[in-house]
Assembly symmetry: C2
Homo-oligomer: 263 residues x 2
């Protein structure tokens, strides 16, 4: 480097700063917490190069548990300037690739009525982080995690945004209608065989009855788990990755966040 | 201004340039053309401060004709860096606020099989503009215009993107399936009484059969004409403005364009 290049470099950096390009320095850490006596271990990600409090995003995994896919989504959110916390819904951050095991674990959470309280416990961890702007919180979830964040919203959690990616959909119960405060974005695969058309109608009708601010995007040729690049590796009929739907749904979420967080 | 402020100013301008802030200078003009012996008069808008060819967007009006609303959308597109051409579907740029008149004019175009050829004629005008990058063309339409751009896409026009805002939806005919080349974005009000649920099912099934890249956004509590701030002034049951759906659908279109035009 010589004297002539220096000013140019300085200018380049000044421009970069002025344009808001800063090198993200994403740090991740495992955070232990508890819910109903169950030890849990979530995955926190944020940009350490960024100062000040920023919106927090809770990320709820697919029924496989806190795997690499959901961790990669948490890191992406951190790069985007959010504090992301990926929840452990099963305990000890356990994961599986066996559908029978995943079915067993997720059913236990569902049948135990733990979707809302357990995800809420993770939300509290996210709130406690010094980087988190507690007034700007969202929850996103994939498949089983999508159902979970819907339950969190149905429980009355005042989230700025709730986003379900190819989630199992279910209408809120009658006694939940008056509680729902969060706007909801439903990202759905047109060919998702895990969600019946009549269920979608019920969800829409109930959310309308509850005067919820919702909208839904339906992606052609997308099946369950369309956002997960590893989906095909599970070799399960009706589960597969769709690059277009994955990209579009992630962009959709970002627009929704920008709107709700007024960023 | 003194010698000390000058370098700072120079720097500020350099940063502005580097960040791509430039003052848009939108020019608009009426362009006369013809289709099937009918004299037509469209509305062109582009940013004169911008140099070089850029993507072109055809804009097809609601059944009211080439009114202020659709012109404002064309100017918005110009500000966004596109060349926009709002089509005249009726001749002599005539407009009305009378539903009976609008019904008569739009039915004449529809029943005459003129939706595709007449919008295609406007597309040709857009292509001829020196500012237009002929390899990057899209068509958007509102209500009747939404139906029209679908027909343009169904006719086989190789558009990079086709977007219908609260358009009347209809499936392509069997002999059109193999022709469709354009990706299609359907922006729809959940409460749009002008489109039957079974029609939506037919459209989806046909587009899937045609292997079209499509996706659809459904906005809660939005009825027909949700994107038009003047919609309520017509005092027609089932037609009304929805600020959220208007904003979200416009952002959706922009994301779709960025994706399809690789901008």
């Amino acid at each position: 480097m010589n004297a002539r290049t220096l000013p140019r470099l300085a200018f380049a950096f000044a421009v970069a700063a002025a344009c808001g390009f800063a090198q993200a320095k994403v740090v991740t850490k495992s955070v232990a917490y508890e819910q109903g006596g169950q030890k849990l271990e979530g995955y926190l990600a944020y940009d350490d190069a960024k100062s000040g409090a920023r919106p927090g995003v809770l990320v709820v995994p697919e029924w496989w548990g806190l795997n690499d896919y959901v961790k990669s989504r948490a890191r992406q959110l951190a790069q985007m300037g959010y504090v992301a916390f990926a929840a452990d819904m099963y305990g000890n951050a356990k994961v599986t690739r066996d559908p029978k095991q995943a079915e067993e674990w997720s059913s236990a959470v569902d049948n135990g009525g733990l979707m809302a309280p357990r995800s809420k416990a993770a939300l509290e961890v996210l709130k406690e982080q010094p980087q988190t702007d507690k007034s700007k919180l969202a929850a996103i979830g994939f498949c089983f995690g999508g159902s979970t964040v819907l339950q969190l919203a149905y429980s009355g959690e005042p989230l700025a945004a709730t986003v379900t990616f190819h989630g199992g959909l279910m209408p809120p119960k009658e006694d939940q209608l008056a509680k729902i405060k969060s706007p909801i974005l439903i990202l759905h695969g047109a060919e998702d065989g895990f969600v019946k058309p009549e269920t979608i109608d019920q969800v829409r009708a109930s959310l309308d009855k509850a005067k919820v601010d919702w909208y839904m995007v339906t992606y052609a040729n997308a099946v369950h788990a369309f956002s997960n690049p590893d989906a095909n590796s599970f070799k399960i009929p009706g589960i597969g990755y769709n690059e277009k739907a994955a990209r579009r749904s992630w962009a959709e979420m970002q627009d929704f966040f920008k709107e709700q967080f007024k960023r």
